[in-house]
Symmetry: C2
Subunit: 280 residues, 2 copies
Amino acid sequence: MGYNSAMRYLEKLQAIQQKNDSWLCVGLDPVPDRMPLPALQWDDPVLPFNKAIIDATADLVCAYKPNLGFYLQWGAAGVVALERTIAYIPSEIPIILDCKTGDIGHTQAAWGRGALDEWGVDAITVNPFVGEDAVRPMIGERQDKAVYLLARTSSPSAWDFQGDLAAGEGLSAQVISASQRWQVAGHLGYVVGATFPKELQIAREMAPEANFLIPGIGAQGGNLEAAVRYGPAGTTGPVINASRRVIFASSGEDFASEARIAAEAYRQRINQFRVSTDGS
Amino acid sequence: MGYNSAMRYLEKLQAIQQKNDSWLCVGLDPVPDRMPLPALQWDDPVLPFNKAIIDATADLVCAYKPNLGFYLQWGAAGVVALERTIAYIPSEIPIILDCKTGDIGHTQAAWGRGALDEWGVDAITVNPFVGEDAVRPMIGERQDKAVYLLARTSSPSAWDFQGDLAAGEGLSAQVISASQRWQVAGHLGYVVGATFPKELQIAREMAPEANFLIPGIGAQGGNLEAAVRYGPAGTTGPVINASRRVIFASSGEDFASEARIAAEAYRQRINQFRVSTDGS
């Protein structure tokens, strides 16, 4: 099975964005003390909880994004649930493993074998601190996979080291600028938080072709209109992520149907901004 | 069970450094195509391989450092082996989980619950890209735990973004300088590669009290003498890591005894430099 026999990442993403008319990604981030009450009564609640969320939202999303940290909090048992969750997601929907890994070359290669080959996820988030070594082992040769490189994270402490991207200066700007010269077979996109709309605009100008994974529109209060305005590149829309506000929409028996209602509301808000932003 | 009832991290590290007369850390990084031939004939070789390495080296080391990426390459089965490896390591030996995680606050909190509480490892490597949010959830309140923050990584692409630490400039210097003002209950140390000896010297000047985790002395060809000269802080020695050159010292039936010989040779070389460096 060659790396390059499958559909390219952006083609797969574009196909599901059109089919589901959606740029919404749902973050599958289970948290013990926020799980709905009925799920807390199950043994090993993570997998059945995720299955219920996936069943309720699979026709409303363009991607799912499980974050490894939320599974590791249950130790290996959580990672077993993650592996089974990944296997359960319909194959037409891209899976972005959010793990922000960023190690030197031979270690990143191991991460790639695990996440991209063994688990078969379509994309992975990568931390740029160690430089090009963090990216090449992932998508240097895999045409059908994508890396989302952290450019501007969504939380306030982004200011500690990431610099003034709105002014085109500092670490985030360096990361976007330098990484676009890296030669990779797969797709190199960027994580840019919706909590920094001006930075999102500059990032789009600096990387006109790249797909953006945009977190922070839910509980973190980011700017959804900016995500829609500066998110698209060419014919592919951004991947706009909401986690807690969807999967924990209700703590009762109706958690799955309420998650569907929340996901549908986000999808509609995104699509309304799409109309007002570019008339399409 | 309070966070703070146990021995502080540096006390635990210092105790085993004295008992084993060792600053050597062995990296438990299994790689399928480098596993010794007999291990490849076992079902689920990772755990028994690790147990054999631990049995052969436990009196020669001051820490073990499993890197999560090398376990995830087997999917969840690898993480099960990691969990059992962690449980197998004698409790007097600090365990550093190398995962270079660096996410926003509530995600880092989940990583902390998994690695530090559920698995009970003593320390974790953290990537500083997102800023203080990556560290506070780990050791803000856990007095008995440590974070090793990436300051200068060991591979050549460190130059992409980490700047000129030897001149006291750039991202690595900013990370060391800023992070020392963060208020944490646990110990904040730094990862500084032995492949950059001048940078190691400057890092020590900038962070005189911090414990250093120093990779790169094995297969990467780093400067062991510089690691010994600039590694120590106060009465605690650095944690000097070798992985492949120890655990894959032989591919035959004698892999464990050869790993012991390799570990003993590193321990002795380190101790010889300790004598020549400071006469102690």
